[in-house]
């Protein structure tokens, strides 16, 4: 009934200050919620995206069993069918071969255990971000071709090993026959990815160079595939699996390869919801408190309304409407600036470089771009409405149960 909405609305403005306090606390709550959701989305998004663009790619085609045991013996030669399918499957943007093996890098100063990745530089550019992570101001360049006998290492590692562009470093590892193999290679360039642990562990050289040293002929570790959309990899992978019906080959998506990444995202989301639950539990009590005060103040007039024939439910509805009005006002006051701020920040990004090292540990990069999905806004709005309605239940029941006679005495 409109009249109760109207009464609820006008009642709101009888004690402006009190209503404004509630409205602004709701607004602040939803504003904070939207902002932290957007920030968390941005962080999660970048964490996933960076992991994909450093190591995972979207889809890997590799010998069955490679994922569990990444040894050289598990390398393979992609079949004609496989290569053709990669060309023909819709949704695939690019693919590139990689060889990877564990070994050691040694300078005159120190040595480190590393993952040595052999790449085809041109193709690698289109499946990963490594070429963009190159630091040209360090004097180096990216690898040029798959036969290059040079190294790409991170700036972090270069500092640890006291290496500069042009210096020689020795790489050592067990080849496919478990013989020690190694070579002294020049550092051609330095890179820095957004993921600290990646930088400490990964070095690059030419694909053919590494194949020859490892003694695996024309075999490779995996083919890394880039698709149009990381959230739509499953149909592409399914298509590939159907096109390459070889039980000796496994085709995995980034989700298959990094389940812990997904659970990290899920964990962050869960933490966020717990945080919201705590915030909004306190909001429930403050709204309920204000509504109870409002009902007590209007004891007499509620008595009048009841004595002239208003049903108890409508009295309750009036209180609920008042709460809904508060929530709507708070929603608008919170969502609009929230969207504006998040919208602006999604373009400019938030620079956490003052905090860089710890952000790099999370693998998100120093500049975070908050992003909010329409769904998040609806969820926030729903949470606020749900909270308010919960808060309104007790005051509404209390108001509905007021005995007209007692209330009339009360002036």
């Amino acid at each position: 009934m409109k009249i109760f909405f109207l009464i609820g609305w006008r009642n709101l403005w009888r004690n402006k200050r009190r209503s404004l306090v509630v409205i602004s606390s709701i607004a602040l709550g939803i504003f904070a919620m939207m902002f932290s959701m957007a920030l968390m989305n941005g962080l999660n998004n970048q964490m996933v995206e960076n992991t994909i663009s450093t190591s995972l790619g979207h889809i890997a085609v590799q010998r069955a069993g490679f994922q569990d045991d990444m040894k050289l013996q598990n390398s393979f030669s992609p079949s004609e069918t496989a290569l053709q399918s990669l060309e023909q499957t819709p949704g695939i943007l690019a693919y590139a071969p990689r060889i990877q093996l564990e070994g050691m890098i040694r300078s005159s100063e120190a040595s480190r255990g590393v993952l040595i990745i052999g790449i085809d530089p041109e193709k690698e550019k289109s499946v990963s971000g490594i070429a963009e992570y190159l630091l040209p101001d360090q004097g180096g360049t990216f690898l040029l071709n798959r036969g290059d006998r040079e190294l790409l290492i991170s700036k972090t590692l270069a500092e640890k090993l006291d290496l500069m562009v042009g210096d020689k470093a020795v790489i050592l590892f067990q080849d496919v026959d478990r013989e020690i193999s190694g070579a002294a290679l020049n550092v051609r360039g330095l890179y820095q990815s957004p993921i600290d642990s990646f930088d400490k562990y990964v070095i690059y050289t030419g694909l053919d160079t590494l194949a020859k040293m490892a003694g695996i002929g024309n075999r490779i570790s995996r083919i890394v595939v880039r698709t149009e959309n990381r959230d739509a990899v499953d149909p592409v992978a399914a298509h590939l699996r159907a096109a390459v019906p070889d039980p000796g080959i496994e085709i995995l998506t980034w989700k298959d390869m990094a389940p812990n990444l997904l659970s990290a995202v899920a964990l962050f989301d869960a933490m966020m919801y717990i945080f919201f639950a705590i915030i909004f539990t306190t909001v429930v009590f403050s709204i309920a408190n204000v509504l109870i005060m409002a009902v007590m103040e209007r004891f007499h007039e509620i008595g009048v309304m009841k004595s002239i024939g208003t049903r108890p439910v409508w009295i309750g509805a009036m209180v609920v409407f008042e709460a809904v009005n508060l929530a709507l006002a708070g929603l608008i006051a919170g969502v609009v600036p929230g969207l504006l701020l998040v919208g602006a920040l999604s373009v400019t990004g938030i620079d956490f470089s003052f905090y860089m090292e710890s952000v790099r540990v999370w693998g998100t990069g120093a500049v975070v771009y908050p992003s909010i999905k329409p769904m998040d806004v609806w969820v926030s709005a729903l949470i606020v409405m749900g909270t308010t309605l919960t808060a309104a239940v007790y005051p509404a029941v209390k108001a509905a149960r007021i005995k007209p006679l007692e209330a009339l005495h009360f002036i």
């Binding site: 009249i3 007039e301 004595s307 006679l405 002036i411």
Partner: protein, 228 residues
């Protein structure tokens, strides 16, 4: 036709475990179209009697029938509907919903009854005009004088053409002249529309203008005189 029939109505209040008799077996018949007043000293049971007739309070013993309906059998919701459709109330003061204008206060009752907007408006404006408030309809209660507020309350009580209007000391907060004007308006409604009125009062002016005077003392009817 008997509008109100009370048979041996008793009402005891409990106060700190002590029984306080407010009505001690009141029997009374009010005919349709009467313009009657309850008088008596403070504490004699006038308000209690009106509340029981209006279904706001339940008797301890005895039966109450209003316009053919026995009140004791009704649920709280049915009582609310009964008050909405058959009974109009005018209290001593603070009768109105503060956030609604005079017009909206009067319309409110019609709205609860589910009338169309247009008809609501017309009827509310018509009764407000009848009580002489045609120029003040858009004002909020706190922008009206006490007498004007009471006139809005009367307009609200009669707008849905109830069977009976119960008014508990309607003139108590008004000066002599304003009170007399309010009584004139109510009497006019009584004559024009045949609405039954029952007042409680200490005001000699009200007693004088009513057509039947029922005196209560200590929870009993002690005299009942008709002036017609």
């Amino acid at each position: 036709m008997s509008m109100i029939v009370l048979e041996n109505v008793e009402k005891d209040y409990l106060h700190h475990g002590k029984k306080i008799p407010a009505l001690r077996g009141v029997s009374l018949i009010i005919q349709s179209g009467e313009f009657s007043a309850l008088a008596g000293p403070s504490g004699s049971g006038k308000t209690t009697l009106l509340n029981i007739i209006g279904g706001l309070d339940a008797p301890t013993a005895g039966s109450v029938t209003v316009d053919g309906t026995a009140l004791t059998a009704l649920s709280p919701r049915e009582l609310a509907d009964m008050r909405l459709r058959k009974i109009g109330f005018v209290f001593q003061a603070y009768n109105l919903i503060p956030v609604l204008s005079a017009l909206e206060n009067v319309e409110y009752v019609l709205l609860l009854q589910g009338l169309e907007k247009k008809e609501r408006r017309e009827r509310a404006e018509a009764v407000l005009t009848e009580v002489g408030l045609q120029d003040l309809m858009r004002r909020l209660p706190h922008e009206l004088s006490g007498g004007q507020q009471q006139r809005v309350a009367v307009a609200r009580a009669i707008v849905s053409a109830p069977a009976i209007v119960l008014a508990d000391e309607p003139t108590a907060n008004l000066d002599q002249k304003t009170g007399a004007m309010l009584m004139d308006i109510m009497h006019e409604m009584n004559l024009k529309k045949g609405i039954t009125f029952l007042f409680s009062t200490h005001d000699p002016m009200v007693m004088e203008r009513s057509e039947r005077l029922i005196r209560l003392s200590d929870g009993n009817i002690v005299s009942d005189e008709s002036k017609r």
